[in-house]
Structures are given as structure tokens and as C-alpha cells.
Amino acid sequence: MTRKRRRLYILLLCAIGLGTATALTLTAFQDNLVFFRSPSDIVAEAPPPGRNFRLGGLVEQGSVERLTGQDGRPKITFRVTDGNNAISVQFSGVLPDLFREGQGVVTLGQMGPGNIFMAREVLARHDENYMPPEVADALRRSGHWNPASGDPPPASQWNTLEPRRQGS
């Protein structure tokens, strides 16, 4: 085998490998990119059913309800708000340690029947002053915080914000 032939083989192999990797990446991207949506986004445009996405905002004051499902699994329902709109969320699992009413939360799941978001995961945050960037973004877009006016207020202050109702 000549050197040229060998080089050709190796180049061909590399092309196949990289081609496969690219194809795999693109196919996997097609179905598995998880978009972030705020409650207002969902009200404005219904997300495609059966597709996972992330929903984030503040846990609405007084909305947390603890139930037991028909299968005996404990369940929890709460509403996630960005100040203008709120979406009901149902979750069956152990909540992260810093889950509180009024606190920023990011959940992963898909829309279920009755416009209820079925969360598979409620993302854990280790620090009570931490504001998930997605939530900050949702609050900014809903008009609760203007980035031009400086840094977002600390999460401890967000926590005491009563979510503003639509039109108020």
C-alpha cells in the first residue's frame, strides 16, 4: 500500500467519523433542544404537545397545594408566574430544598391535559440569593425589571414581591 493510498484511507475514515458525528448532533438537536418559556410565552403561543420545555418564573404566593395522587404518590401543585400570567404546575417528587412561595423556580416537563404543566423536574438551587437567569429574563420581559436600571434586585426582595395581576 502506498503512502498516498494510506493517507486517502485515513482521510476517508476521518470524513466518515466527523460526518457521523455531525449527523448525530443535528438529529439529536432536532428533538432534544429544550426551550425556555415564561408563562406569558405559553399564553401567547401554545407550546407543541409532547415536547419538553422549561418553564420558569416565581412561585405564586399562596398557590402551593399538597395532594396525594390516585396511585398513592404524593403530589404537589403550584402556579408559576412572571407577574402578568400564571401557569399551573403539577409535580410528583421531592422538591428542592429551597423551593418557597415567592422564590424563583425553573421546572422541566411538558404541557398536560387541562393546560397544566406536568413537571418532571423542579430544578434545585443551592443558594437562596440565586436568581436563575431564565427567571430574571422572564421577569425582565414581563416588565418587572428593567435591565437599564441596573442589576436585578436581590432574590430576597423578589421573594416578597406580590405577583402583579394582569392589567393592574
Binding site: 439529536a28 399538597r66 421531592v94 430544598d97 434545585a124
Partner: protein, 653 residues
């Protein structure tokens, strides 16, 4: 006084590191043996200075010196002494000092290998290491000085993040840093080779132990981090494809590839340019990992304090080192002539395939990790890329890699035939098929876990086949075979053991694919059935720890009404820092883990999440076997004597 001493030592180290960069490089260029010889004392001087700084910081932590800002922010007098010490590197500033310390130790080790005067290669390597050290020291002094004072000193510190007060995480950063810094050493060798314009077998022999050591430490560091996530975060998982995890996985993949291609350089003198490029890439990915973790640009479960100034500085260093290295590569690499011919089907060919697949996996992980960042920067859309993407995109690439891991070691160098290799692996294939069929039958038609079991058994059996083949078992008398086993180079043993370790990890991952979990709300005295046990909640009570209070659920496990074990998951509250953590209770018998997490309490009910994780510990045991294989390889006599042998040949002065 002591913090000032530390600060001064850091500044001193910077000055020495700059000298360490310039003088040996100049000496090597001018063939001036005296200037080259400066490399050794300068490297030792930097080591001494950084060691002093690190000791000063440790003392500040140990005596809880609250006039030091770093101590105030990350420590507290009520913390156990062990975590006061490990807290030194549990924060950004301290961990950077540790980084530089490990780098200085490595530079000292490179210097220590030359007994009389260093060779030109050695001098250049030490110089490049000096320049990396200088960059990081500048970074520490300008943006993250651990010795900043506060006045007036507060009465006590704010405490360390409770999740980090843990022995697994105390050891995780040093191990990972040794791995990262190891890639810096191979990077320095690559740069030195590019400056010399020459890569030969002696270069390969120099680089391989460093690549091996770096790889073994990275393996252990990642395994420890994964283990920590498993028992400390309480989610029951072991790998989340989180950006910070990926940041450590990418250098590991590159370093695994480097390790294998360095063998080809050493043994056959081929793949030189590619190996040099891999060494550059591995270091670039380590730097990228540091950047991702330290700058906080990525939204991660491991949120560290983010500071844009630091991010920009590290990005700048990344640009200078990697950009400079690639420019040097583009300039010098075309001058290196490739050597060592081999057929596509040969040991070399299989190692090329290994490199190709590992790099493809690395590229996929890279894209998946950074794509959300780019999309956010360019279009302001927030997306995330989760485990389904990574599983789907990496698994098809991992399968041929695993298949090849068995074939490669059995192939001869230069030219091989497929048929004799397949013939030697027939029983291995039967074992793998048997494992697949057995897993399908027992675990209820779950394809992917069954495939994982097959892959694991394939690797373990193939590692045995490799060793048996080499010692000629069943072909020669037992006594001769044993004698040959004793004479087998440790590098061969190490490779077989590391490959088998990968198999053990694959079995663990496959086992975790069969994991089950349940969520129940139970009152004290009530029981629930799960995983063949009767789980009885006895009570939930308050519990007092050294610097935390907890709610502790006491659970008794029964089989046929007979008590077999107790578990006590907790939810801990740390008053300093006002944080709550979940402390899972894990009972293992090495074949399966029982894992219990206490959730919230409501109306007298406690919410419990119970997991049954078959073979979970094997994931980390396998990783440690891999690292052990690396260590055994490293102790090979050929590697130890090969390293300094270049000197005689290469030193003209």
C-alpha cells in the same frame, strides 16, 4: 503578618516564573548550557514560593483569621478542622492557588528528572510551564487575591457552602487539578517539540508518563465528582450532563486519545503531528473547563460565584496560550515529516480509530455544552441541552469504540489480519452475547441496559483474552505461562486492567439503567413495600450536628417481618449561610444500593423517595480500576528508564 507573607510569596513566585519563562528559553535557543541550567533552580524557587503562599493561606484558615476576606467569606470557627483545611480550595481564590501549586510541583518534577544539567527539550518544557504559571499567578494577583484584608474584622466567618463540607468533594478538586495540570505539562512538551521542530520516540517516551498520570488523575477526579453528586445531591443519579461535568469530561476524552496516540509515537514514530495537536487540544479543553466553571457563563447545578472580570481574564489567557500554540503549530508542523508506515488494519490503525471516535465524542459534547451559550449570545433565545441529546448523540459513537477496545490490543503493529483476531475473540463474543441474553431474560426486555451488560462483559472478557493470549495460556505448560505472566511488561497489564475497568463501569451504568424508584407519603409506624423490602418509618425527629441541625427520618427495613437494616435520611439546616441540604441514606452491598431521601413533611406524613440502584457502586469502582491500570502502566520499568535516556543523545553542550 502571615497573610502578607503569603501575598509577598505570590508576587515573588510571579517574578520567578517570568524568569523561568525567559532564561531557559533563551538558553535553549543559544545553546547556552548555563542559562538552560537556570531552569532547575528557578522551577524549584517558584515551587517554594507558591508552597509558602499556600501554607500561609492554610494557616489563615486553620486559625480562622477573620481579617482575611477570603476566610470570612468561606469559613467559620464552628467548622470541623478537616473542612477548615479543605475549605482552602473550596472557593475560587484558594482553588486557583492550589492550581498554581500543582503546576509548580509538576514543573519541579520535570526539572528533577534531569540529574546534571537539563536537556534543551527539558529547559523549553520548564520555560513553557513557567509561562503558564506566570499567567495564572497574574490572574490570582489581579482578580482573585486570596490574601485581601477586611477592616474591621467581623467576629466570625460566613461558613462554607454545606454541600462542599464533604470528604468526597474535599478530594475532588485536587485530583481534578492534577489532571488538568498534567495536560499543561503535555502541552508544554508539545510546544517545546514545535520550537525544536522535532518529535521523536524519546519525546513520546517523555510525554507518555505525563499523559498517563494526567489521565489517571482526571479519571479519579471525575469519578469522585460523580460519586459526590450521587450521594450528596440526593437526586439518585450519577451523571447529569451538566456543563460543569462536561467541562471535565472533554479534557478526559482528549487526554484518553492523547494517551493512546503517544503510544504510537513512542513505539512506531508515526502520528507525531497529530499527537502534538492533541496535546494542544487537551490543554485548551482544560483551560476551557476552568473558564466555564470559574466565569459562571453557563447555567449549572454547581453554581459558583460568577465574576465577569475573571471570565474575561481567563478567556484572554485561553486566547493567548491556545491561539499562540495553534499559530506555532501552523508555522512549524508542516516541517515535520511523517514516518512509520502502517496498514489501516493494524494496531496503529486501531489506535487511529480510537482517536477518531474519542475526538468525535468530544466534539459532540463540546457542541452540546456550548451551543446554548452561543445561541443566547447571538439570538437572545434561552435553551438548554439535556441528557437525551447527549445520550442519543454519544452512544452510537461509543459502541464502535467499545467494540474496537477489544480488537485493538490483539492486533500486531504495522499490518494485521482481521480473521486471526476474530478467532481469538470468539469466546469473548459468546460471553457478551450470553450477558445480553441473560439481562434481557432477567430484567424484562430492556434493550439498552442489556446492551450495556453485553458491552461490559465484552470488555472484561477481552481484557482477559488479551492477557491470556500474551502469556500463551492453554498453548504452553502452566508453569511457562505463569513465568511469562511475571515477565509481561507492566504497561501491558496496566492497559488490560484499565480496559477491564471501563467494562466494570459499563456494567455499573447498565445496572443503573435498571434502577427503580418510588415516592411515598408515610406516617410514623406505617410501612411500604419496595424492592423486596418492607420499609417502616419509625419516627422523624430533630437531630443536632456540629454546625447544623437536622430532621432525621428513622427507617427500618424488614424481610418477612424480620429487621434487616436501618436507614436514616436527613434534611440538614445550616444556620450559618441559612442553607438546607438533603442527606441521602445509602446502604450498599456492592451489588445494589438502597437509597432513601427524606422530602418534606406534611400533615404528619413524611414524603420519602426510595431508590433501588443495581450495580451503582461499580461505576466508580470501575473508574478506580481504570486509574489503577494507569498507575500500573506508569510503574513500568521501560517508562521509568526511557525518560532520562534522551539526555545523553540530545545534549550537545
Amino acid at each position: 503578618m502571615i497573610p502578607e507573607l503569603g501575598h509577598f510569596a505570590l508576587a515573588m513566585a510571579l517574578a520567578l516564573a517570568v524568569a523561568q519563562t525567559i532564561l531557559p528559553l533563551l538558553g535553549a535557543q543559544r545553546r547556552d548550557a548555563r542559562l538552560m541550567a537556570m531552569a532547575v533552580p528557578l522551577a524549584n524557587g517558584v515551587l517554594l514560593a507558591v508552597l509558602t503562599a499556600f501554607a500561609a493561606l492554610t494557616v489563615s484558615y486553620a486559625v480562622n483569621d477573620t481579617s482575611v476576606l477570603n476566610v470570612v467569606q468561606n469559613s467559620h470557627s464552628a467548622k470541623p478542622m478537616l473542612y477548615k483545611i479543605t475549605g482552602v480550595w473550596g472557593n475560587h481564590e484558594g482553588s486557583m492557588v492550589l492550581w498554581v501549586l500543582v503546576l509548580a510541583i509538576c514543573a519541579g518534577a520535570v526539572a528533577g528528572f534531569g540529574r546534571e544539567s537539563p536537556s534543551a527539550l527539558q529547559a523549553r518544557v520548564i520555560a513553557v510551564l513557567g509561562s503558564i504559571g506566570a499567567g495564572f499567578l497574574l490572574f490570582i494577583l489581579l482578580t482573585s487575591n486570596p490574601f485581601d484584608r477586611v477592616w474591621p474584622p467581623p467576629p466570625d466567618g460566613q461558613g462554607l457552602n454545606p454541600l462542599l463540607q464533604d470528604i468526597g468533594l474535599a478530594l475532588h478538586p485536587p485530583l481534578l487539578y492534577m489532571g488538568y495540570v498534567g495536560t499543561a505539562v503535555t502541552f508544554a512538551f508539545a510546544i517545546a517539540a514545535l520550537i525544536e521542530g522535532r518529535v521523536d520516540a524519546a519525546w513520546g517516551a517523555w510525554v507518555r508518563p505525563w499523559a498517563l498520570a494526567s489521565w489517571a488523575f482526571l479519571t479519579m477526579g471525575i469519578a469522585l465528582g460523580s460519586w459526590w453528586a450521587y450521594y450528596e445531591l440526593g437526586w439518585g443519579g450519577y451523571w447529569f450532563w451538566d456543563p460543569v461535568e462536561n467541562a471535565s469530561l472533554m479534557p478526559w476524552l482528549a487526554s484518553t486519545a492523547l494517551l493512546h496516540s503517544a503510544i504510537v509515537v513512542e513505539k512506531r514514530g508515526a502520528l507525531k503531528i497529530w499527537t502534538v495537536l492533541l496535546a494542544l487540544l487537551a490543554f485548551a479543553l482544560s483551560m476551557l473547563g476552568t473558564f466555564l466553571v470559574r466565569s459562571g457563563v453557563l447555567n449549572s447545578v454547581h453554581t459558583f460565584a460568577a465574576d465577569p472580570a475573571r471570565g474575561v481574564f481567563i478567556l484572554g489567557m485561553l486566547g493567548v496560550y491556545v491561539g499562540g500554540a495553534l499559530a506555532l503549530f501552523a508555522w512549524r508542523a508542516p516541517g515535520m515529516t511523517p514516518q512509520g508506515f502502517f496498514a489501516p488494519l493494524s494496531r496503529e490503525g486501531m489506535l487511529v480509530l480510537n482517536n477518531l471516535l474519542l475526538c468525535c465524542i468530544c466534539a459532540v459534547v463540546f457542541v452540546g455544552t456550548l451551543y446554548p451559550l452561543f445561541l443566547d449570545l447571538l439570538t437572545d433565545r434561552l435553551i438548554s441541552v439535556g441528557p437525551p441529546f447527549f445520550n442519543l448523540a454519544t452512544l452510537p459513537l461509543a459502541l464502535p469504540l467499545i467494540a474496537g477496545m477489544a480488537l485493538g490490543p490483539l492486533m500486531p503493529w504495522k499490518r494485521a489480519e482481521l480473521w486471526p483476531v476474530v478467532q481469538r475473540l470468539w469466546w469473548v463474543a459468546i460471553v457478551a452475547l450470553g450477558a445480553f441474553a441473560l439481562a434481557m431474560a432477567i430484567a424484562g426486555q430492556k434493550f439498552w441496559p442489556a446492551l450495556g451488560f453485553a458491552a461490559g462483559m465484552w470488555l472484561i472478557a477481552a481484557a482477559h483474552a488479551d492477557v491470556l493470549e500474551r502469556i500463551g495460556a492453554f498453548r504452553v505448560p502452566v508453569r511457562t505461562a505463569l513465568a511469562r505472566a511475571r515477565g509481561l511488561p507492566r504497561a501491558a497489564w496496566g492497559a488490560a486492567i484499565a480496559h477491564a475497568g471501563m467494562g466494570v463501569t459499563a456494567l455499573g451504568i447498565a445496572g443503573m439503567g435498571l434502577a427503580t424508584e418510588t415516592l411515598v407519603g408515610v406516617r410514623p409506624g406505617e410501612t411500604t413495600r419496595f424492592a423486596g423490602y418492607e420499609w417502616r418509618l419509625d419516627q422523624v425527629r430533630d437531630y443536632q450536628g456540629p454546625n447544623w441541625t437536622a430532621r432525621r427520618a428513622e427507617i427500618t427495613l424488614l424481610v418477612d417481618g424480620r429487621e434487616v437494616m436501618r436507614m436514616a435520611p436527613q434534611r440538614r439546616f445550616f444556620p450559618i449561610g441559612r442553607t438546607t441540604t438533603t442527606e441521602a441514606s445509602i446502604r450498599t452491598n456492592l451489588v445494589r444500593d438502597l437509597y432513601a431521601v427524606l422530602g418534606e413533611e406534611r400533615d404528619g406524613q413524611a414524603v420519602l423517595r426510595l431508590h433501588h440502584n443495581p450495580l451503582a457502586p461499580w461505576i466508580w469502582i470501575g473508574a478506580f480500576i481504570m486509574a489503577l491500570g494507569g498507575g500500573i502502566s506508569l510503574s513500568d520499568r521501560r517508562i521509568r528508564i526511557a525518560a532520562p535516556s534522551r539526555k545523553a543523545a540530545a545534549l550537545p553542550a
